[in-house]
Every structure is written in structure tokens, then in C-alpha cells.
Symmetry: C2
């Protein structure tokens, strides 16, 4: 048998210990598939003595993870520390410069510094693999970089954050409001103590940024993303959306139109029976449009120890097999700068929920504003009446220009009877 | 730029011409991803002068496809002739023996001769790639051989034949019977003039045989498969299944239990809301159970020019990139002989539809037979009454032993009042 493929693991949280469990429990089959054993030489984490449920006694303990980069007994450093800056970033740079392959689950790092890291990797003849950074156990990076590589992509859509999808599903099933469901999710361990990255769409945006780069052959450009989260969605929206035949989903959408690219993460309304409308709970899903493949969909649990660690180990197996690919699917020199598409010029149908005082003339004023912005109403719903108290009204529109919708919503918000910022969401038929 | 990767294409039907279209239309992006251009040197088909809508004038025409194997200007032969024997098999053997990589969409060939071909490929240091053989444009072979390679698999389930899934969906939506829907599907081009391979489950069985080999590291063993098709499903079954909350699906199921493997293709009843129950029309889906990844699901259109050709070209790009993998995920020497699991010993819940004369005592006799075989009834439904005429009765059972169910069904069929072979289907909660 060929020499072992030797790795060091930096970061022993849930995913890091999961990687050790897989490499231990499945050692035989992994060696058979990789053509050689995979051997853990060294590990590193903040606390040496914490009980992690795995035996670390056969591995060198490295106090400073950064020292992994300089060890000459490693073929590959596995970075599971997290964060786009600091120790994780230094370690990855150091390892690549030291001609070691790197496997990471760090979506923030790849989204923010992917281009620089790809240059370093390519310059040193090593690989940066990051399957686990997007959609946990679902091999979506492999599908896009390899399995669908025959295609020009025009769009990639994803439900990329399991926490948000769980919260939205739970809100719908129980009729409870966002804050209430979030609190329970935190107590049950489905949401972080600081949920900002998840619920405000940042986590999904990191993932979309990576998918967009592979899909369109552009340098990852996180700044070009428009991001909003689900905290402004309330139980009323969920109910109204269902009434109109929709589900509310936090979608990542990247589209290329004439060389310009739209990258947006935002809550959208999606038909109930559609491929993404049917994805519930903690499930993730990715859907792509290629010019020869319609709509392959990859679905699965997007997080958790097992799935994420499974993808980390798959990346390691690839490297042990000698598979090495350009970081974003094409050589660095061929990655283009991203030309952002003007979102305001995009057309779409919209869901607009207002919270207005129930008084005469409201609909006349709203209708006039919509008319003045070339917005044609498709459907309208108001539940109950409560004179002079706030009531929700939902409108759905025919195709309109995004900037017009935004402007109309602003003008409506400025009216006296409008008691809350309107909730505006685009309809995505996917 | 590195030297071109040179291919010959044998077989210019729908898929073959699709491959030419992709390599032509997407030449730039494919060269960027592969790191080198992919160049078609030679093509071969039965008829030279047929108009295929693609320009063949830049390629050498080879009259006898078998001659491709001996050309010294090719890195890879793309076999799109089809059939498990004859020209296709000879060409693939010849090409591999001639140290050329082979890409094929030929499921019958890989299912029947995969082990022998894997030996030849490995012995000659070349690859046999066959992504397009299973589930068209969905990169399921790549997912199982690579993306999920960290896992020990316990099961793989699939809706693997789009024609059958289309027919079953259409039967449910229109209430029409099998033969009637099949006839329309043939006229519309969704089913072959000779539909046997599709509707009798042979096509799905070829695909399952391949997936099973990768999942469990066994030599492909088509003879070990139990196969039945959908021609015995009637409109009544579809209606009753819906009433009980089920869809009828032609499922391929491969499961490993203590080193023994079950491989079966058969119509099953599946809960309406389940991952596979929700897959309708021509869509395919594959669902796997790994020991660290739960249930990733790949869905997509499983056939057609674009998707199938997309997978063929992805295989070619892999080879151009220098990616070479063992045919079934592990070296040939490590592929085990398959020990078939005794299906009769398996437990499950069942759907049993009888067609019986509506007369006193029927239920008593049926119930006695079930009781004598330790089969406990969960639900029962009979629609309408028609004394002394045949009426359908459906029973669903609690968990029972498969051999007992089969025996009970046989005894029921032998009763005077039973006018038709009972329809027995296992319930699969996936």
C-alpha cells in the first residue's frame, strides 16, 4: 500500500471531533477508497484537557495551531477553527505557502479571502478544498466544480441556512412569531446564542458568494452581495403567504445576465409545490440552471457533526487520491472581476404586506402610488376589520421593476396611516 | 496551454450529438475548467449521411466503431452505442486494452460486465467513467464515489426510471389505466416503442446494480437482483394507495445487512410527503444512508439529450483534468463477491390489493390465512358493493415477514372467489 496521507487537524469542536470519529470508525473503507491510509499526525485546539469523547493520545498535541503550517510531516492541514480573520486565516495562508494542501469548512474565510488563498494555493501547487463550507453533507461544491462542469450556468439558487429554514417552518406550523420561535430554537440548540450571522443572512451570504464564484468563474466578491435576513418576517406574513399559495424562504440567488451578476440573500416567497418551496425544517437545497442541465437539486441536512465532517473527510480523500482542482473551478488567472448587476433594474412579481390604520381612503392612496410606479396588482387580501386600528393588507403584483417597487414601498411607508415599514418580498418561481 | 485531450465518439444518437453540441457551444469554459481544450478527433455511427443537426466535417469519420480502439491519436473513447454485448462491449474492451480511457452512458454494459471491464481498466492504468449511465444529468456516481466517500453505506434507494415515474404520475392524475397511459407516452416520445426494459424494471435494475456495487464495494452482480415492473399496477391501486396516504413508485432498493445485500427493483408504496414520495413525473431521485450522512437526496431529470450528454462531458473533463478513480470506488482486488440477502426473511409492512367476488365469507377466509401467517391487518378498504361481481379490497398490514406475505398472497389467489392475482407491495418509509 502506498504511503499514508498525513494530516493535522486544527480545531476540535463538533466538526473536528466528527472528522476524528469518521477517520477512526471508517478507516478501512476510507483507505480502500483513497488507495492509502489517512493518518492523523497532529491536532490542535484551545483547550487540551477538555473531554471531547475521542481519544487524542495517538496524535501530537500542538499548542499553537499556527505551528501546523511549519510541520514537515504533514501533507494536509485541516482548518476547523472558523472566522474569516486571525488564527484560521494565518494558518491557512501559512499552510498553503508551506506547500501543504488545506481542507476547511470555513465559509467566511473562503468568501472573504478566497481569491487571495486561491492564488497562494495555485502558486504553491497545492489545493484548497472547502466542500463542508456550503450545505454540510451535500456534495454541492463537487457537483458544481466537477459533476456539472460541462455547463455554462445562468443561475444558482439555494436554501443555504438550516437555522432560518427551521425557524420559518416552525413559525408556519405553530403560528408563532419570529422572536418566540428563535428563543426556543436557541434553547434546543438549533440556533446560536448570538444568532445574528444566521438570521440576518450573513452565513447564507458567505455560502452564496462561494457558489457564485464557481458558477460564473468570478473572484469571490462578498461586498457585491445584497443581504437581508428573516427577522422582519412575522406570523402574519407566513399566514398571508400560505393563503396566496406561497412559502417564505430565505433564498440565496446568484444570476448572470449579459456578463453582470446579481448576488442577493433575502426572504422570498416561493410557490408551495415548487422544488425549493417544498424544502422544510433544517434541510438545505441547491438548485442550478445550466445550459444543458435543467434544475438538478441537491437536498440534505446542511449542518451537524456527521454531515459536515463527512464533507471534510471527502475532501481529504480527494487529496489522498491525488485529485487536485483549481479552487474555484478555473485557474486563478481566468477568474474575472465581478460586474454587479443593478438589482433595481430587475423585474419580478412582488409580495407587499402593509400594516395600516383601518380607515377610509387607504386603498385609494396606496393604489395611486402603485399606479404611478407602473405596478399592477394581481391579488389583495385583508383579514378582518378594526376601524382606526392597524390591520395588515397584503398585495401581490404582476411583473414590475424592482426600483419602482422599492420606491413605492417607501412612499407608502411615509403616509400617515402606515404604522410600520412595509414588508416587500420578491416572488421566485423555483 | 497544455495539449488537447483527444476523444473519439462512437454512437451519434441523441446523446452523442448532445455531446458534440456541448463541446462546441461551451468549448471555452470547458477548456478553462479542464485546464486544456477537449478535441473531438473522430466520430462513428451506423449511418454517415443522416442529418443530425451538428457539423461533423471537422472530425474523421470511422466506419467501424471498433476501429476507434486502435487509433493512436485518442486519449479517450466515448461509447454511446448501447447494449451490453456486441459492438459496444467489443469497443470498450478494445479501447481499455489499448490504454485509452473510456466514457460511456451504457448502464447495461456496466451492470453486466462491469467487473471484467474494471479489471481491464485497472490493468491498463486507464479509467472507465459512466456518470451518464445512472440518473442522467444528476451527478450521483460522483456523489457516491467521491462526495460521500467518507461513509459506510447501509442503503441506497432510487427512483431510477423516468418513464415509469411519468406513467405512474399520469395514471394518478388522470385516473387512467397503465396500458392506456403507456400508449400515449409512446406517442409523445416519453416511452420507447418496445417499452419492456423501462416498464418491467430492467433499466432501473441496471442502474441499481451499479449503485449497489459502489455503495457496498461488491462486484456488480445483476443476476442477484430481484426485478419486477409496473405493468401489473392498475388505476385501482393508484386510487387506494392515495386513500391510504401513499404514492406508488418503482423503487430500486439496495441494502446491506450483516454483509449480505438485498437488491430489488419493484413497485412500492411510499408516504405521499416523503422525500421519494414527492418525486413526480420524469424526475429521478437517489437517496442514500451513510453512517455519517443522513439522506442526502439528488433529484433531477434523469434522461434526455442535455442532461445525459452533460454527464458524459463531465466524465471527459474529469479525465482531461487527470482525475482517475477505481471503477467502483475501490481497487478491483478489494471488490467482494456479493452475498445475497434472503429477501424472504426481510420484515416490512405491506399493501395487498385483492380482486374478489363480492360474496359472504370472503373476508373470513382471507383473515384466517393472514392470521395463520402472523400477519396483522392495519387498515382495510373496500369501495362499493356489487353482489357476486368482482370488487377490489385493499389491506395494509403491520410488520410481517416477506415470505409469509408472499405465501399468504398465493393461498388467497387459490381461493375460488379470488378472480385475479393479488397485488402485493411493500411499504417503504422513504
Amino acid at each position: 500500500m502506498t504511503d499514508a496521507f498525513k494530516i493535522g487537524i486544527a480545531g476540535l469542536g463538533t466538526v473536528g471531533t466528527g472528522v476524528i470519529k469518521i477517520l477512526t470508525q471508517n478507516a478501512d473503507i476510507i483507505a480502500a477508497r483513497a488507495g492509502r491510509p489517512i493518518e492523523i499526525m497532529a491536532v490542535s485546539a484551545r483547550s487540551k484537557n477538555k473531554d471531547r469523547g475521542v481519544d487524542l493520545s495517538n496524535y501530537d498535541w500542538v499548542d499553537d495551531a499556527g505551528d501546523m503550517a511549519a510541520r514537515d510531516d504533514l501533507d494536509c492541514v485541516v482548518e476547523l477553527i472558523g472566522g474569516s480573520e486571525g488564527l484560521a486565516a494565518d494558518l491557512v495562508r501559512g499552510a498553503l505557502n508551506g506547500k501543504k494542501h488545506v481542507v476547511t469548512a470555513n465559509k467566511a474565510l473562503v468568501a472573504h479571502h478566497g481569491y487571495e488563498l486561491a492564488e497562494i494555493a495555485e502558486g504553491n501547487g497545492v489545493s484548497l478544498n472547502y466542500e463542508a463550507a456550503v450545505a454540510g453533507g451535500i456534495p454541492v461544491i463537487k457537483a458544481m466544480r466537477e459533476g456539472l462542469a460541462a455547463n455554462k450556468f445562468s443561475a444558482v439558487y439555494g436554501i443555504l441556512n438550516g437555522t432560518c429554514n427551521y425557524i420559518l417552518t416552525e413559525m408556519r406550523e405553530t403560528g408563532r412569531d419570529f422572536a418566540d420561535v428563535l428563543k426556543d430554537a436557541q434553547e434546543a440548540g438549533y440556533a446560536e446564542a448570538d444568532p445574528t450571522f444566521d438570521v440576518e443572512g450573513v452565513d447564507a451570504a458567505h455560502k452564496l458568494c462561494i457558489l457564485s464564484s464557481i458558477a460564473f468563474g468570478v473572484k469571490p466578491d462578498f461586498e457585491a452581495l445584497t443581504v437581508s435576513g428573516i427577522s422582519r418576517i412575522n406570523a402574519t406574513d407566513i399566514t398571508f403567504a400560505s393563503e396566496f399559495g406561497y412559502r417564505i424562504k430565505l433564498l440565496g440567488v446568484a444570476q448572470e445576465v449579459d456578463g453582470e451578476i446579481l448576488q442577493v440573500v433575502e426572504p422570498c416567497v416561493v410557490p408551495i409545490g415548487s422544488p425549493l418551496g417544498a424544502i422544510e425544517d433544517v434541510y438545505n437545497a441547491v438548485y442550478v440552471d445550466g445550459n444543458f442541465v435543467e434544475t438538478p437539486l441537491l437536498t440534505g441536512k446542511g449542518a451537524g457533526e456527521g454531515p459536515t465532517a463527512s464533507s471534510v473527510v471527502a475532501d481529504i480523500i480527494d487529496l489522498a487520491r491525488g485529485i487536485s482542482l483549481p479552487t474555484f473551478g478555473v485557474p486563478v488567472s481566468q477568474l474575472k472581476d465581478l460586474s454587479p448587476l443593478d438589482a433595481g433594474a430587475c423585474k419580478g412579481s412582488y409580495y407587499l404586506r402593509l400594516n395600516v390604520l383601518d380607515q377610509p381612503g387607504v386603498l385609494a392612496e396606496v393604489s395611486a402610488i402603485l399606479r404611478d410606479h407602473n405596478i399592477s396588482v394581481e391579488g389583495m387580501s385583508q383579514h378582518g376589520r378594526d376601524p382606526d386600528q392597524p390591520v395588515p393588507i397584503v398585495l401581490t403584483t404582476h411583473e414590475a421593476i424592482h426600483a419602482d417597487m422599492v420606491k413605492a414601498a417607501e412612499l407608502i411607508e411615509a403616509l400617515d396611516f402606515c404604522v410600520e415599514t412595509p414588508c416587500l418580498m420578491v416572488v421566485r418561481d423555483i
